[in-house]
Symmetry: C2
Subunit: 381 residues, 2 copies
């Protein structure tokens, strides 16, 4: 990614007094801290203390069985042996890329999608394109980033009609506001779907525990790749999760989470429509964010710079775009980790920043200063 953007995002997320609407972070008040403390005690109390020792490349069998059960309940023929635990969804996508992509390959994506997947494709020498004649299709069924929309049945049919490999990233699939769980693509094309999931959005990102269900014929290769890249997912997070899941009601937790995010989305959307009527967006059906589009030209990094000075941060639209275009200006606004009483404040600041940006555009200042200094990656999923 553009190093100037990274630097601006770091500033926005670290500077005191800046309300960060970037990053795709879950609400920390949803973290089940007490249940986790008990789970940690349980995990450390086992005789062999697997939580602290090496494990196998494919991960803990109880965790894999839990993941498989939930996928079976949605119609997929998945068993524990089909699941490989990864360091979050990002590593699951990276492993699929390593198995699927050659340099120069075209990866089919939505016009806007998960930025770290786009970056990964590009650094692997592949090109993300909005097209059908591609080697691999990357899609976020369930709920897509950044719009928070569900995959339509038409789009689903088109994706399944082709014979290409599909990376199906379900990072947000369990955070639909209506609680619906679609049949996973995996259920209909198990021989070419690389199914990706994670606990990062539904429980806690800090575990870095996700999963990949590759086509069965690719399992041995996937375990080999996983072993090559880091031996195994961290045993501590896996053990604590496994202990937690033995007595924690995940579905009740997901219902609480969906209710909280839905309420925030509605309040945030109302405030946006009132204060920023020129912003176009659809109400999200799930997930953490609203994707706003505008008719304004100019540079989204410049707007981010101005917004940060007004005490508000966001993710600039260009990082979600397969085209990488910065204009017309778009922005992803994550309501997920903003306290309820600050949602209106966030929108007020954004509106002030937008007016300031518009005034400067009128006066010809449309460039972004080249941000020098530290280059570093963003914090995002």
């Amino acid at each position: 990614m553009d190093e100037a953007i990274e630097r601006l995002q770091r500033i926005a997320s670290l500077r005191r007094g800046v309300l960060a609407l970037g990053g795709g972070l879950p609400a920390p008040e949803l973290f089940p801290r007490e249940a986790l403390a008990r789970a940690f005690d349980d995990a450390l109390a086992t005789p062999r203390c697997e939580a602290l020792q090496y494990g196998w490349p494919e991960g803990r069998s109880d965790l894999r069985a839990w993941i498989a059960r939930r996928l079976r309940a949605r119609g997929a023929d998945v068993h524990a042996r089909d699941v490989v635990i990864t360091a979050g969804a990002q590593q699951a996508i990276a492993v699929a890329c390593e198995a699927l992509l050659v340099r120069g390959a075209r990866v089919g994506v939505d016009a806007e999608t998960y930025p770290a997947a786009l970056e990964l494709f590009r650094t692997r020498g592949a090109t993300p394109v909005v097209a059908r004649d591609v080697a691999v299709r990357y899609v976020m069924p369930g709920i897509a980033n950044p719009r928070g929309d569900a995959l339509s049945s038409d789009a689903r049919a088109v994706i399944l009609a082709s014979s290409r490999a599909i990376i199906a990233d379900e990072a947000y699939a369990e955070l639909r506001f209506d609680g619906a769980r679609e049949r996973p693509l995996l259920a209909d094309a198990p021989e070419r779907v690389w199914h990706v999931g994670t606990f990062s959005k539904s429980l806690c990102p800090g575990f870095r525990v996700g999963w990949l269900v590759p086509p069965r014929a690719e399992l041995a290769r996937v375990r080999r790749i996983k072993h090559d890249i880091d031996l195994q997912a961290n045993s501590l997070g896996q053990a604590v999760l496994a202990a937690l899941l033995r007595r924690f009601d995940v579905d009740a937790h997901l219902a609480r989470a969906a209710a909280l995010y839905r309420a925030r989305a509605e309040r945030f959307a109302r405030a946006l429509r009132a204060s920023l009527p020129s912003f176009r967006f659809r109400d999200p059906e799930g997930g953490f964010s609203i994707f706003v589009e505008t008719d304004a030209g100019g540079d989204d990094a410049r707007f981010l710079e101005i917004a940060t000075a007004h005490g508000i941060g966001f993710d600039p639209g260009r990082i979600f775009r397969a085209s990488q275009r910065s204009s017309p200006i778009a922005l992803r606004l994550c309501f997920s980790a903003v306290r309820d009483d600050l949602l209106d404040v966030a929108v007020e600041r954004l509106a002030r920043a937008w007016r300031a940006f518009a005034a400067r555009r009128t006066h010809g200042d449309v460039g972004v200063r080249n941000a020098a200094g530290a280059s570093s990656r963003r914090r995002h999923d």
Copy 2:
């Protein structure tokens, strides 16, 4: 790796009653469980609960500062900003490979070395060779796997005399029995040493927390690679470690660990010399293992199969060899995680297995049956 070998190693490590001398596992009785339980409580009690949230690709700054301080104390000019936290040493090596290796490259290694690094080089399309005209040198200074020997000053001088990039894997460097800490290679060639370290051997593998200190000019690229492959190392393990290190005396812990491993090494070596006088090995100077060489031809996988039937497992020599040769038979024996009262039992079983193997070799049964069935990666570091 050979799938037959993997399968045999899994059987050896999982079958009840088999004493596993493979795997490079630390002694679980050294895990500081009580201090970790307090550290977990501390990590969860912070207002923002960073332990459960996303972090930055380079990792926690307090942890990076701690690592940098220890390297500075050994003579290297390293600061927190130079350190990138990784998912163990294996990922640090994998990141260095991604930055350094092109397909067809030759990587200079010792004749026997860490198997997962050899595998990684091979699957990346590089060839590990025992030679000087190579693109990159991989070395384990401090204490090398599998022999547990320290890098001689002559070998060190030869490595530093060349101008090639060096991956310096210090996984075992803090587990020298004499407590000595050499000046890291990084201190003498910071512009081309990729320094690799980990908490896996010195504290607990379950965290999957290690580090990479790349040349400064490569830092931005390394952070980008790290972000691409899994966004960041797990926050939970990092937070618990950071909390632990604030009040845990690591040097006292390392002294206890070195004393325990030294005592096990000495007892194990004595028993080996008494029961298996044809086994050749040097007493290790640190680490977890003894590397045994023999004059016997045949197949080390066949010997492993027989040994497992006699209730003893080990790591066959071929996996450590750059040449991948299975003959003459060699074996790595890890004494690290075997209870003191079982060390002699382990050697007795090994001796019985060796006699049985020798008897079969005399009768012409030197092949290994092709192990069918599940293919999977080994548990090893």
